[in-house]
Symmetry: none
């Protein structure tokens, strides 16, 4: 049956691609209030396709934020149950002038589709839906195992609603394993299973100096500047060699196994090619004593993503702003506990905060790392299925990214 499903998918590939492009045209940017109706539109688009291909109990579940989509098909008695996950929301597309083609007008170049969300995560989501369609067709309206689908629209903004839903609906969502389609093939045509993710603590570090914006001519030299406060703090979070300086930060870090490290060394990866083709900087940075993939997949880091506040338009305005902030995130690895790290970070920031400045930390999202053993029976089954299709051995990778819901799945023994 699998091979006839594959044939069906091959025969219908052009239609599948056309549908995916329509999906990509919906600017479902979850973080921007003005795109709220587009996010709803993307949810409707997915739910209506799940209904059309024969999935049952399809629901669009309202939340405090953006809707969840649930669907199932549970008639394969005695077979395992999979919980399939993906997300239909995307990141903002700015800066717009760096796109070669418009972010919401999918364009094919170099055998790729370029559009915001094409690989994160609409392409993978549509692949899941189309796999269900193909298996359903090949099975005469039946699937070879029990399937529950849960799809969210807040992955890019912390995934709070799905986390709440998963905690409340443990029975409804109970499954034998979870399939999280939000990662990548390591190289074209190389069957890949991602078995590990870094965790994430994403904060906004807010600093207040004077009570109102001041003129730097009249007050510069006596009024505390919140930007200097932030810079003083952040310059001490990480040293120039990439080592995080928060006391106790590395204490619980668990290294990958020797087998994993050996396998990573065999992957088709060259620092120099990665630097040139992907990063495009003059050098790679970070802890020199760890190989690049090790740093990316299994070492924790600190980054700054933006510093809102003050004057940012072209030109000159001599303001000492009352407030400024920094978006500071930390990637976690096994076995770091996000709450523990947040506590250490908060205490350290407090200690570093200079006189005249008040700091406050807002937490935008928080989740631990997650790693699955490659001897897991569903990982083995997936490996065999991939071999059937690709005729190649699967490589096991991790991802440096974070998918918060994976932790929740893990918490009720699905990962």
């Amino acid at each position: 049956m699998a091979s006839s499903a594959v044939s069906y998918a091959r025969e219908n590939q052009q239609r599948f691609l056309g549908e995916l492009k329509n999906f990509l045209r919906i600017p479902s940017i979850s973080t921007l209030e003005e795109h709220k109706s587009d996010v709803q539109k993307a949810a409707d688009f997915v739910a209506s396709e799940l209904r059309r291909i024969g999935m049952e109990n399809v629901e669009i579940i309202p939340t405090k934020g953006h809707p969840l989509i649930y669907a199932d098909w549970l008639h394969a008695a005695g077979k395992p149950t999979v919980l399939m996950y993906a997300h239909y929301d995307v990141q903002p597309p700015d800066p717009l002038d760096e796109w070669l083609s418009p972010p919401f007008e999918p364009t094919e170049r170099n055998n790729n589709i370029y559009a915001r969300g094409a690989v994160d995560d609409k392409g993978q989501l549509w692949m899941e839906v189309k796999a269900l369609e193909a298996l359903m067709k090949a099975g005469g309206g039946k699937l070879p195992l029990n399937v529950k689908v849960i799809i969210e629209g807040e992955e890019e903004v912390g995934g709070e609603s799905i986390a709440e839903y998963v905690r409340k609906q443990k029975t409804k969502l109970k499954a034998d394993f979870a399939l999280v389609c939000d990662t990548e093939l390591f190289a074209p045509d190389l069957p890949t299973l991602c078995v590990g993710l870094r965790g994430l603590v994403y904060t906004e570090l807010e600093a207040v100096g004077p009570k109102t914006d001041l003129h730097s001519g009249m007050y510069g030299g006596a009024a505390p500047n919140p930007f200097f406060g932030l810079i003083e703090i952040i310059s001490k979070l990480k040293d120039s060699k990439g080592k995080v300086l928060i006391p106790g930060f590395y204490k619980d870090v668990k290294a990958p196994t020797k087998d994993e490290l050996k396998a990573w060394k065999r992957l088709p990866f060259k620092d120099e090619a990665f630097r040139k083709a992907e990063v495009g900087s003059s050098v790679l940075t970070g802890e020199k004593e760890y190989p690049t993939l090790y740093r990316l997949w299994a070492r924790p880091t600190v980054e700054v993503h933006g510093m809102p506040g003050g004057f940012t338009a072209p030109g000159a305005k001599t303001v000492i702003p009352a407030k400024a902030a920094a978006k500071v995130s930390m990637r976690m690895v096994p076995n770091q506990d996000p709450d523990d790290i947040l506590k250490k970070y908060t205490a350290y920031v407090k200690k570093l905060t200079p006189k005249g400045i008040e700091t406050k930390i807002k937490v935008w999202s928080k989740g631990p790392a997650c790693v699955v053993g490659t001897d897991n029976r569903y990982i083995k089954a997936a490996t065999e299925a991939l071999h059937d299709t690709f005729k190649k051995d699967t490589v096991f990778i991790r991802s440096g990214g974070s998918i918060p819901i994976v932790t929740d799945f893990q918490d009720f023994r699905m990962c």
Copy 2:
């Protein structure tokens, strides 16, 4: 004659105030395109009053931006010539909900007039015009010295048009001294002359790391982050005690005279009142070894005004941006040379720039400090005139701010 001019002014005070209020009702906000016609209206208002009181050669001079106003009266043979400056444009009034009375409906409270522009600079401008009127009336249609008036409508937006005009019209504007009415009385009823301004070098420090925006999950730990590059550099521009660390930065700094410092100590100024009422921070910062007014008026500083780039909207986006920037300015004091300081700053930034990051410096504005000796003959004459009216000694202050046009006046020996 001066005293009869003062009498005339006292007799006509209510009319003068009524006219000023009409002037304040015109929302001449130079930075907002939708107020362009109001800015023009304010120019017409001033020009027509200059004509009415007997000034000659009154011109409204169109520019690329908002118009300049010129007027003169040059019949005092053998007497000095003054160039009088003010501006008729104002800042935007937002945030509107913090006004106790509407910004463009002048209201008297606590013996003050509250309206946008009342003290910056329409009040001072109208005082200049009314002084000319009173002197003209008292002198039977004649002024006691030669007067040239130049008034601009772009002071709040960089003052480009007047700078261009002044450079081109050196002969037309030639004078023995310039009277710049855009500063304050240090306290009510305290005759004050501002005899010094700090200079300014305002730069945009741009940093580039990766060639495109990267996801911090996929690349964090190996890709250089331009925000960390900027933070590493800026954290070394100034230490936590307010000392600027750019090598050679203080080399040419000329301290105020002992007389000046003594005079500043006698001014009605209390650190604690200034901190609470004006700055509103928990402490005042900066070089502790210098008193506050000394720091504000006669010590150079470095400030950061904003850090454009990356993700700054509410929420979380895990981006390592390709580019980020910092608006970094330096206030100059006598005898620092802005070009020399810019050279030292540029060399130091280059030295501090970490591997993987490229930096570039854009200069938004650049002008030296300007201080006039209190033994200057026009300063002395002004002091005597102030004593006649206030029956008090004049205090000499400086301002920590910069008025770009003052440098242009100075360049052709008017200051």
